[in-house]
Amino acid sequence: METEKVVKLSDLDLSLAEEFIEDLSFDLFACYQCGTCTGSCPVARFGGEEFSPRNIIRLIMLGDREAVLHNPLIWLCTGCYVCEERCPQDVKPPEIFVHLRNMAAKENIIPSVWSDIAANILTFGLMNEVGEYENKIRQTRFKLPELPTPDADIMRKLAEKIKFTKLVHYKPPEEETGEK
């Protein structure tokens, strides 16, 4: 972290960590900051960013909501799960990152390219459209069957039902007007 911040023990807010304990299947406070996660992390070692699962877990334990939810680094965990395999206390950093990102999303913080991917899924049923052209390539170049049409309609209705469409500010593409 670029700036030093003093947290007085008397002001310590443990509510953030408590939220994690309620929602996850393990005790975050079991983390004794050994750093096995950061030492095992490919992003920390080779990614060229000051990414450290250990630091993020510490910030949660210190209750610094702002410093974790608004931290761009929380979007860098690739979810490779090596840290989870190695953690001597069965703390699961990738699950912590998923949970943090879900919390951040509720506060409107989502990488914009990921909202775009969500919009594609809601529109086409896939991350990217597989349309007539792609199907032509599949059939002629690779002798593959036509891809069964994804049921984007059901996927979108499910999303509406649990308000995922709202979470990612989904706007359906404008209905095509006039001739093609």
Binding site: V43, F46, W75, T78, Y81, R138, M155, L158, I162, F164
Partner: protein
């Protein structure tokens, strides 16, 4: 051996050669793959990052569809298998959660009762087909001493409490399959290091550095190819090798083949049937020269 084939998003869009070679190899080995209708996205780790419940719903939808067909699911993609296995484990163990999810799905005449297994194609090859039977179908071996690297990717191995598939840090099952072809699956430092694909869209620089680590350590170990079994790994190592080569000014390249392409060559299928012309590092096209018959 009959499975519902779930393709996901990335294979039909970018990795037709992987799909084509998988179908060829499955057919040769007597694994029947029935396409799942109307399948759509598994949810993927990206959706999970935004809303875990929607992610579970999307995977549960696929499980419910396959359950109607009474078929276990075969995935070719690590991302898909990770998501659907995770949802499967969760819905099997937690009755209350299954009820909640089924309540939401019931509007669409879908219900999942937790009766299925979800398997990566590699797991089907290793556990259901088995090494002896694969060996019987490999007619043309690769020349002695051809060193290649197995690249497993993450989500078929980890988290091991969900995948139950091989050693999460020292996997060997793909290595054993590769060795049946006469090629020698060799270790290299980047073997279990993440390819970077999950952050490629939001942090490409980070993803490219992770890819570079794998390519460069494969080169250090004098490997003649990397063998993948996931479209995202292949995207990172093959398609993005061009970018990595430019950024790090590399004077070499390493062809990347999907495992079914390697097996298919040794079974006697051609570059065309196996879709190898699609692989981006073009030396992959010349890979058949390492087969004994082409000497």
């Amino acid at each position: 051996m009959k499975y519902a084939l779930f393709l996901g998003c990335t294979i039909p869009e970018k990795m037709n050669g992987y799909e084509a070679s998988s179908r060829v190899v499955a057919k040769e080995l007597g694994v029947e793959l029935i396409d799942l209708p109307n399948s759509g996205c598994c949810g993927s780790p990206i959706v999970r990052s935004m809303d875990e419940q929607y992610w579970t719903l999307l995977s549960a939808r696929i499980l419910a569809t396959a359950e109607k067909m009474d078929l276990d699911i075969c995935c070719l993609c690590n991302g898909c298998v990770g998501s659907i296995m995770h949802a499967n484990e969760y819905l099997k163990k937690d009755n209350a959660a299954r009820e909640d999810i089924n309540n939401i799905l019931s509007d669409f005449d879908l219900e999942y009762n937790g009766t299925l297994e979800v398997k990566h194609f590699l797991k089907i090859l290793y556990e259901d087909v088995g090494l002896p039977r694969i060996k019987e179908h490999l007619k043309i071996p690769f020349k002695d001493g051809l060193k290649v690297g197995a690249y497993y990717g993450c989500h078929m191995l980890r988290p091991s409490e969900i995948t139950h598939h091989g050693d999460p840090e020292r996997p060997l099952h793909m290595d054993e399959i590769i060795n049946l072809t006469g090629a020698i699956a060799s270790d290299y430092e980047g073997k279990i290091s993440c390819c970077g694909a999950p952050v490629l869209s939001n942090a490409p620089d980070v993803a490219w550095r992770l890819t570079h680590r794998i390519i460069s350590t494969a080169h250090d170990a004098a490997l003649k190819a990397l063998i993948t079994i996931c479209p995202f790994c292949s995207l990172s190592l093959d398609l993005n090798q061009i970018k990595v080569k430019e950024l790090w000014e590399l004077d070499y390249d390493i062809p990347v083949l999907h495992l079914p392409q390697l097996l298919g060559l040794s079974m006697g299928f051609g570059v065309r049937e196996l879709g190898i012309f699609e692989n981006r590092v073009k030396s992959a096209m010349k890979f058949p020269r390492f087969l004994l018959k082409n000497e």
